[in-house]
Symmetry: C2
Subunit: 378 residues, 2 copies
C-alpha cells in the first residue's frame, strides 16, 4: 500500500495572526514547545503541573482547587463542563448571542438535558433582564450558561451581573471565557462563576489544543452527587482529578500532551510577569488605536461601544468591496491573517483579533496600513 501524494518537510509561512485565534506565539513559548519530552508521570512533570495550576488560578482570578488544563481544545473544555454538570432532565437556560450559544444548546441536548434558549441579537451583549425573565419563568432551572466574550461577534457580556442573577435564582453557571481569559477583565471568584472553560490559543498566546478550566466548590458538589455517570470517560472530572490532583498519589488517566503543557506554562508565566490587570489594559489601549484606524477607513463596529471586546474587533466591510479578495490579498501580500464572519455574519463582517502576543503597536499599524492598501488597490 503506497502513498498517494508526494511528501516533503512542511515549512509554514510566517504569518501575523490577527484573526479570531490562534494568535501569534512569543519566541519564548515556541522555544518551550521544542524542549525535550519527559514522561507524563515523571516527578518533574508533576511539579510542572502544580505550577500550571497555580498560574491558571492567577489568570482566572480564583482560588478554586479544581483548576487545570484539559488535554484537548476549547470545544472539549466546553463539553467537559456540560458533561459533568448536566444530568439527564436538567433544565439549562442558555443565553445565546452568537455561534457559541448554539454549540451550548447542542451540548445540553446531547447530555439529555433540557435547553431553554434566551436569545439576544448577534453583536449585542446578553441582556440581564431577559435572563431574569427566563429564570422567573423556569423556577426548576438548574444551570445558566452564557458566553462571556462572543468570538463570533466581538460582544462582551456582563459576567458579574449574569452570574449574580443565576445565583439569586439558585442556579449554577457555565461560562465560556475562551476569548476573554487574559484579554479582558475576568474575576471568577469575585463574580461567583461555577464552571468556566477557556482556550490556550487566544489571549494566552499558547499554541492551540489545550483548554484551561476551573470549577467552584458548589460545581464540584453537584458533580459528586450525580445520580448518573458522566457520559464521557475522557472528560469525567472524577477520573481526571485523580491525575491532575498531584500531591504524590497521582494515578494514570491519559497521557498528557507534555510539550503543549510546557508552552502553556511559559505563556502563563509571561502573563504573570506582565500582571493580569496590565494585560487587560494593553488589550484596551491597542483596541482604541485600531478602532481609530479602522474607522478612518470607513469601517463600522457591529457591537455598540459599551459592549465591545478589545481583543476581537468585528467590523463591517466597506460597500462594493470583495471581502474574500481582500482577505486573500492580506494573506498573500502581507502574510497577515484576519478572520471572516461566521454563520449569518459570513461575508458581512471581518473579525480582527488583537489577542495576547498579537496585541501590539506593530500589528495595529501593519493591519491598518495593509487594509488601507488593499481597500484602495485590490
Amino acid at each position: 500500500m503506497k502513498l498517494e501524494r508526494t511528501h516533503k518537510i512542511f515549512n509554514p509561512p510566517v504569518r501575523t495572526l490577527m484573526g479570531p485565534g490562534p494568535s501569534d506565539i512569543h519566541p519564548r513559548v515556541s522555544a518551550a514547545l521544542a524542549k525535550p519530552v519527559i514522561g507524563h508521570l515523571d516527578p518533574e512533570f508533576s511539579n510542572l503541573m502544580e505550577d500550571i495550576k497555580d498560574l491558571l488560578r492567577y489568570a482566572f482570578q480564583t482560588k478554586n482547587d479544581v483548576t487545570f488544563p484539559v488535554s484537548a481544545p476549547g470545544s472539549m473544555g466546553m463539553e467537559i463542563c456540560f458533561a459533568n454538570l448536566v444530568e439527564p432532565g436538567d433544565k439549562v437556560i442558555i443565553c445565546r448571542n452568537g455561534v457559541f450559544g448554539n454549540r451550548m444548546e447542542e451540548n445540553v441536548k446531547r447530555m439529555r438535558g433540557e435547553a431553554v434558549m434566551v436569545d439576544d441579537e448577534w453583536g449585542r451583549a446578553v441582556d440581564p433582564q431577559k435572563l431574569e425573565e427566563a429564570l422567573k419563568a423556569n423556577p426548576d432551572a438548574k444551570i445558566v450558561a452564557f458566553v462571556h466574550a462572543e468570538t463570533s461577534t466581538g460582544a462582551s457580556s456582563d459576567g458579574k451581573t449574569l452570574a449574580a442573577l443565576a445565583k439569586q435564582y439558585g442556579c449554577l453557571t457555565i461560562v465560556d471565557t475562551v476569548t476573554s481569559l487574559g484579554g479582558s477583565e475576568l474575576r471568577v471568584d469575585e463574580w461567583g462563576l461555577s464552571a468556566v472553560y477557556s482556550g490556550s490559543q487566544k489571549c494566552l498566546s499558547a499554541p492551540p489544543g489545550i483548554s484551561p478550566v476551573t470549577f467552584s466548590a458548589d460545581a464540584i458538589e453537584k458533580i459528586k452527587n450525580r445520580k448518573t455517570p458522566v457520559q464521557s470517560w475522557f472528560g469525567d472530572i472524577n477520573l481526571v482529578l485523580s491525575y491532575w490532583t498531584g500531591s504524590g498519589k497521582r494515578s494514570y488517566h491519559h497521557t498528557a500532551p507534555v510539550n503543549a503543557m510546557y508552552s502553556l506554562h511559559e505563556a502563563l508565566l509571561m502573563l504573570a510577569e506582565e500582571g493580569i490587570e496590565k494585560a487587560w489594559q494593553r488589550h484596551k489601549d491597542h483596541h482604541l488605536q485600531l478602532k481609530q484606524g479602522l474607522e478612518n477607513l470607513g469601517m463600522q463596529f457591529i457591537v455598540p461601544e459599551a459592549e465591545r471586546l478589545s481583543q476581537l474587533n468585528a467590523v463591517t466591510i466597506p460597500e462594493d468591496k470583495n471581502e474574500m479578495k481582500i482577505r486573500s490579498g492580506l494573506l498573500q501580500k502581507y502574510n497577515l491573517e484576519i478572520g471572516a464572519g461566521l454563520g449569518p455574519l459570513a461575508g458581512k463582517i471581518w473579525r480582527i483579533g488583537l489577542m495576547g502576543h498579537s496585541c501590539n503597536q506593530k500589528n495595529v499599524t501593519l493591519c491598518t496600513e495593509a487594509l488601507a492598501d488593499l481597500l484602495q488597490n485590490a
Copy 2:
C-alpha cells in the same frame, strides 16, 4: 489575587524514554513543533492536513477515506470510536486481557451499550476460540472490541484472526492500536478492521496529545444510520468530517492543535522515509537484543514468546529487589525512564519500551548496562 508558588522558566531534564510512552522525539520532530503557528483555516494548513491524512493511511495500511488525527490523546480517540459506533442498547463483545479492556467496558457502559466481557489472562494474547464462543452465544452482538497491542502487559493479539471471526458473525470491530501503529505489523484493510484508534506518542514518536483514527466504509455507514445523536459534540464524526474533509469547503469545527500537527506530520514523514515494514523489523531486531540482555540479568518475560510485542517488554523484577528504588535510580543516575506495572501487575513487573525513535542500539545498550549496575548496586 496572588500566586501561591514561586515560578520560573521550566527546563526539563534530558531523559531517555524507555517506558510505555511517550517515547523519545527525533530532533526533526522537535524542530517541527516550534515552527511558526498559522491559522487552522489557512490554505497552507488545509494542504498539510491532506498530507497528514495520506501519511496516516500509509501508516495504518488502509485506503479508508475517513482517516485523520483526533485533536486529543489516545483515550479520546478510543472514546470517539465507541461514541460513534455504539448506540444505546447495542451489544458489544469486549476481549479483555489488560487495563485497556477495562477502559473499553467503561466506554460501552457510558454509551449505554451492553458490554459482554471475554476474559483472558493478563500477559496473554486474546484467545480467538473464546471470542468465537462468545459470538455464538451472543448472536445479537453488533461490535467486537479488542486491543491489538496491550500496553499494560506487552501482549500482541492476532488482529487478523479476531477481525475475521467478528466479520463471520456479522460484527464490526473497534481496535486499539495505540502501541502497535508503526511498531509492529498492522494492516487495517487486509485484516478488515472497522474502527481503529492509536496515539501519537508511542511508535510514531511524535509528542503526546494526538490520536490517529481510521474508519472503514461499513463503520461510517453504521454511524450515518444512527437513530440517536452521538453523545459527544466534540467527537461526533459527522461534524469532525466537515472540518477534516478538506477539498475546499472545510467548515469550522474546533481549533486544531496546529503545532502538534506539524510534529505529527514530520514523524509520519520519517516513518514513510524509513518504510513501514522496515520500521516493524527494526522494532523486532532491537527487541531481540534487549531480550538477550534482560534475560542475562535474570529477568523473565511475562508474555509467551509467540505473543510478545517487540515495542513493550514486560519483565519480572528479580526477587528481593526494590523495584521503586531501582526505577528511581535509573531516572536519577542515568536519566533513563522505564515503566512500572499497572493494576494487578503494579510492583510485579517493569515495562520497558522500545518505541519509535527510542528503539535503537544505543538505548538497548544503555538500558541493559544501567539495569545491571543498579540491580547490583542499588
